[in-house]
């Protein structure tokens, strides 16, 4: 297997292969101590049904980038499109966004929280719950449907938040450090769980993470951002078939280790 692909050949992508395209995207925030440049001229493409991991140092604009793609923000400069939709409102309609925190409503049980994604689109409460229920079975949350968020473990809360994101029914999944708040053991379990979920769902996914190993384990391609203001400094293909089995075993693969090293080098450059 050929692994060490050098700087991803900018293969001409036909527009139908491209799910997400960012061109020259810049974004600054106003703060009390003058403007903060979060992103500087980001160019990035995500192929349809590809899983892209976005890694970069803290504060380099990863969340900002994800919110821009999601249509929750507009860039100051540059263009963004998701499935060909250019306006923020249109992008909102094709992207499902999962924030760094689980953001479950404490008064709703787990099933009700997942069903919120359907209710927000006008589906009735009972019908929404009925439609959300099979996913609990499928993604290892059976019997926890009626638990309140406070009664769930951190990992389970994160799974519920992910199911809510899936139930939004959008083509594009944007996941912002979904495991950042978890301890390392739960984190490992959740990475395997997400790998299976992403393989089963076949959607375009962008996953933000701090963790290079997580990125290589879960994604088809890893984009490395520079420190603030963020811009893409390297794109690393991960030509290993997904899902990649048990995490511990996947990580012992020499190809895997080499890719992790390359990503780390790009990060530290």
């Amino acid at each position: 297997m050929k692994t060490d692909l050098e700087a991803p050949a900018k293969e001409p992508l036909s527009s139908q292969d491209t799910a997400i395209a960012l061109e020259g995207v810049s974004r600054s925030y106003r703060s009390r101590r003058g403007p903060v440049r979060a992103l500087a001229r980001v160019d990035l493409r995500v192929r349809a049904r590809e899983a892209l991991a976005l890694v970069g140092p803290s504060g380099c604009g990863k969340s900002t980038l994800l919110e821009i793609v999601a249509g929750l923000q507009e860039p100051d400069e540059g263009t963004v499109s998701a499935l060909g939709r250019r306006g923020a409102r249109e992008r909102l309609g094709v992207c499902a966004y999962m924030a760094q925190r689980d953001l479950l409503l404490p008064w709703r049980d787990a099933l009700g929280n997942a069903a919120l994604a359907l209710e927000a689109q006008g589906v009735g409460r009972r019908e929404a719950r009925r439609r959300a229920a099979p996913l609990f079975e499928r993604f290892g949350l059976a019997r926890f449907e009626r638990s309140l968020p406070a009664e769930l473990s951190g990992g389970m809360r994160q799974r519920v938040a992910f199911l809510r994101t899936l139930l939004a029914g959008r083509e594009v999944l944007l996941l912002d450090e979904p495991f950042a708040a978890l301890d390392s053991i739960t984190r490992g379990e959740m990475q395997e769980w997400l790998a299976d979920a992403l393989a089963a769902e076949e959607r375009t996914a962008v996953l933000v993470t701090h963790d290079v190993e997580e990125a290589v384990y879960l994604a088809d391609r890893v984009a490395v951002l520079s420190p603030r203001p963020g811009s893409v400094v390297a794109e690393i293909e991960v030509p290993l078939p997904r899902p990649r089995g048990r995490r511990r075993e996947a990580m012992t693969d020499p190809d895997f280790a080499r890719l992790v090293r390359r990503a780390l080098e790009a990060l530290e450059r």
């Binding site: 909102l92 966004y97 404490p106 919120l116």
Partner: protein, 250 residues
């Protein structure tokens, strides 16, 4: 449980002190009725007290209901329409500065001796804590939750119903607790300004007629009403906001 025990002890100590002061030489029955005399008055005048209590209770409960409906309603409107909030908030604060004691007789002049002016005064006093707390509650929702609703494609109304109103519930109950306690005072003011029945009037009358024990009996019952309302609101909050066990907001 221990909390209640302490409260009971404190109350007992207070009653004992009261009894002690009342039995001091030089303190006559007209100045201060002892707890024992007050208890006797409650027993003796129980039908009189009861019939007047129902009148006052009706004023309090209806006035509170009006305040809750208007207060929560205007808080929601002010939340949804920012210009309205900016315009109305100073007026809301100003309404609190109105000396109700002065206003009460005018209300009675404007309306009559009936229940109308009492409701107006109770509602005026209770409106503020309800409105301000509900508004704070609606605005306290984490921006990230609003972002989530936006990304899920929720309408403004859907976000209000599914996220903002439930988040505001604990705040609403905080406001209601304050409102419940001051509502009794409002009803008494209303009756003082002009009424032919009610505990407030009974107390005023008793004062004029030097029936000190009856005055104290009325005051004790008014206090009990306020405490009972407070407890009722707390129970209702536990039932309505089970995800925040016993917690109070704001």
């Amino acid at each position: 449980m221990r909390r209640y025990l302490l409260s009971a002890l404190l109350l007992a100590a207070f009653v004992a002190l009261w009894q002690l002061v009342a039995s001091l030489p030089g303190v006559d029955d007209l100045t201060l009725a002892s707890p024992a005399e007050t208890a006797r008055a409650i027993g003796r005048d129980r039908s009189l007290l009861a019939s007047n209590m129902w009148v006052t209770l009706e004023e309090v409960l209806l006035g509170l209901a009006i305040a809750v409906a208007l207060g929560a309603g205007s808080a929601i409107l002010m939340h949804l329409f920012r210009p309205l909030r900016e315009a109305a908030y100073p007026l809301l604060v100003a309404s609190q500065a109105i000396p109700v004691v002065v206003l009460a007789p005018l209300f009675v002049l404007a309306f009559d001796y009936g229940i109308g002016p009492k409701l107006a005064i109770v509602a005026l006093i209770c409106f503020f804590p309800v409105t301000v707390n509900v508004l704070d509650g609606l605005r306290s929702v984490e921006p990230e939750l609003l972002k989530l609703m936006r990304s899920l494609g929720a309408s403004r109304l859907s976000t209000l119903v599914r996220v903002e109103l439930p988040s505001a519930l604990p705040f609403f109950f905080s406001g209601l607790r304050v409102a419940a306690t001051v509502s009794v005072i409002g009803a008494v003011f209303g009756e003082w300004a002009g009424a032919d029945k009610g505990l407030g009037r009974l107390v005023l009358l008793g004062n004029n007629q030097l029936q000190t024990a009856r005055v104290y009996a009325g005051v004790v019952i008014l206090t009990l009403i306020a405490v009972a309302l407070f407890a009722l609101v707390t129970l209702a909050e536990r039932a309505a906001v089970p995800w925040r066990r016993g917690g109070t907001a704001g």
